[in-house]
Symmetry: C2
Subunit: 322 residues, 2 copies
Amino acid sequence: MDDVVARFLAGDRRALARIITRVESESAEGRDYLRAIFPHSGKSHIIGITGGAGSGKSTLTGALAGEYRRRGKTVGIVAVDPSSPFTHGAILGDRIRMQEHALDPGVYVRSMASRGALGGLAPTIDAVVSVMDAFGFDYVIIETVGAGQDEVEIAGTALTTVLVNNPGTGDDIQALKAGIIEIADVLVVNKADHPGADILVSQLRALLALAPKGSRRPEIVKTTAVKGEGLDVLADAIAANRTFLEESGGAAVQRQAHARHQVLSIARSILVEKIRHATPEDELANLVERVAARQVDPQTAAEELVTMYQPSYRVRRGERVS
Amino acid sequence: MDDVVARFLAGDRRALARIITRVESESAEGRDYLRAIFPHSGKSHIIGITGGAGSGKSTLTGALAGEYRRRGKTVGIVAVDPSSPFTHGAILGDRIRMQEHALDPGVYVRSMASRGALGGLAPTIDAVVSVMDAFGFDYVIIETVGAGQDEVEIAGTALTTVLVNNPGTGDDIQALKAGIIEIADVLVVNKADHPGADILVSQLRALLALAPKGSRRPEIVKTTAVKGEGLDVLADAIAANRTFLEESGGAAVQRQAHARHQVLSIARSILVEKIRHATPEDELANLVERVAARQVDPQTAAEELVTMYQPSYRVRRGERVS
């Protein structure tokens, strides 16, 4: 294992791929790798790129990576795909557009499932981002498909969150609806060559004017990712956001908040595993049965379950308190 | 409190509103109400209506409620809006379309935030659905905004999940991307009067043909919700799904799985609260600080946190084991 870590730290992409695979499978080996390399993380600029259906996020992500390459920087990309037991990830459509970078050693792309077993964003996304960060990429871009919950969690992981909007397809209204505009550090109006782009910019400005006084307004950037237009401005806006956050202390606050969220959410997973193992399956099944039969409500059943796990209860039963 | 419950069970809508508000705020009073009325739930047909941006979910939900009213049935609607501290739920756009039912005592509409404090679908959504169910509505419709994670969790709550697709705007591809088609019991092609509706139906048929042999194929229904077309067919398809699930035993399996998910997820919340209260804030802050400074990885920190909560650790510190 030390050998893999050494090769990883020396920049070996095969070691990177191996560690990501182990970390993603949540194996004990993966956790050991993560422990070993975690101290080397913390230097990448983590960027979240998110937006509604058909907004061209993948194209924009690929184009932004290209802009960073022109600037001599390296880029890791985590493309988050909702997991699907049905499609088995076979339908990758827009991922294909990233193949332009397939032979470039300065870009590394990894597709991941978005869902954890208990719902919510897969905890391994944070871990894979940390691995790419520790590997030494200047930028790690997380691209999420879909609009809603996932974006909000991504915003906790990313230092800079880029929300991609799309003129003319009702995505403008959708951004409001989804209520995720407040998580954006940079607002991109992509497909800026389409009619309605300027109207959308005006709508976004009007919306931002509603924000409470004194709150920082995200910058609005127009891009046409398929033609490679506006990416220099976007890269500058992202850099300006980092500078602002580092100087204002916002970055430190974000890192603290994210660390806290990670620790508590992993602790929660550990506890749920413990409670599952500590509760005999027939007692859990019995509780579930009573809820399904409407004899007891879920809150009361959950309280009973937690009580079972309490040491006092286990002592009463004559079991050993671990 | 008994008086409010008595009025609720007698069909008083003010008692219904009050109980929902208390349940939604997750107060102790709300939990008491839920305990009292939960045994009366379990009779409604819970329907999830979900789909991509601009697919006309709200219009369809309103129109389907109208169809049920014509059939002499009552309907509760839970409209799930991503919560937004910025917009404060002020932008309700398509909610307004449901106002046609505002004066109808056979329809009750409630808008809710979708996000819980720790991410994931708000646990109170399940609770509010149970309240409407216990109130005696024949149907409870959960309508979700956005595409992705939320839909998958809604599919656990709803017996019948309706996925709304939209011709011509790339939503067809989006449905595949989001990988949520496998959770659908009924596939609706809404805006069936638009060009491309029949192509979308063909595409969906082709996609379903890829499903494993022997798996049940969801029915495809064309609607034009704004004109009130196709709703009778949709209502019949939803009824057929219920009949199928009840007769095949699928409904019982779904109720068990949902009860299990609810119990475990509430237990998880209780445990996280416990661990937060059991851990002195300065010890937690210290752990978080070390993670933010990359001195320790989140997994190790979470394990330390859980260990702190272990009775053995607390005994070593001379504290009382509760």
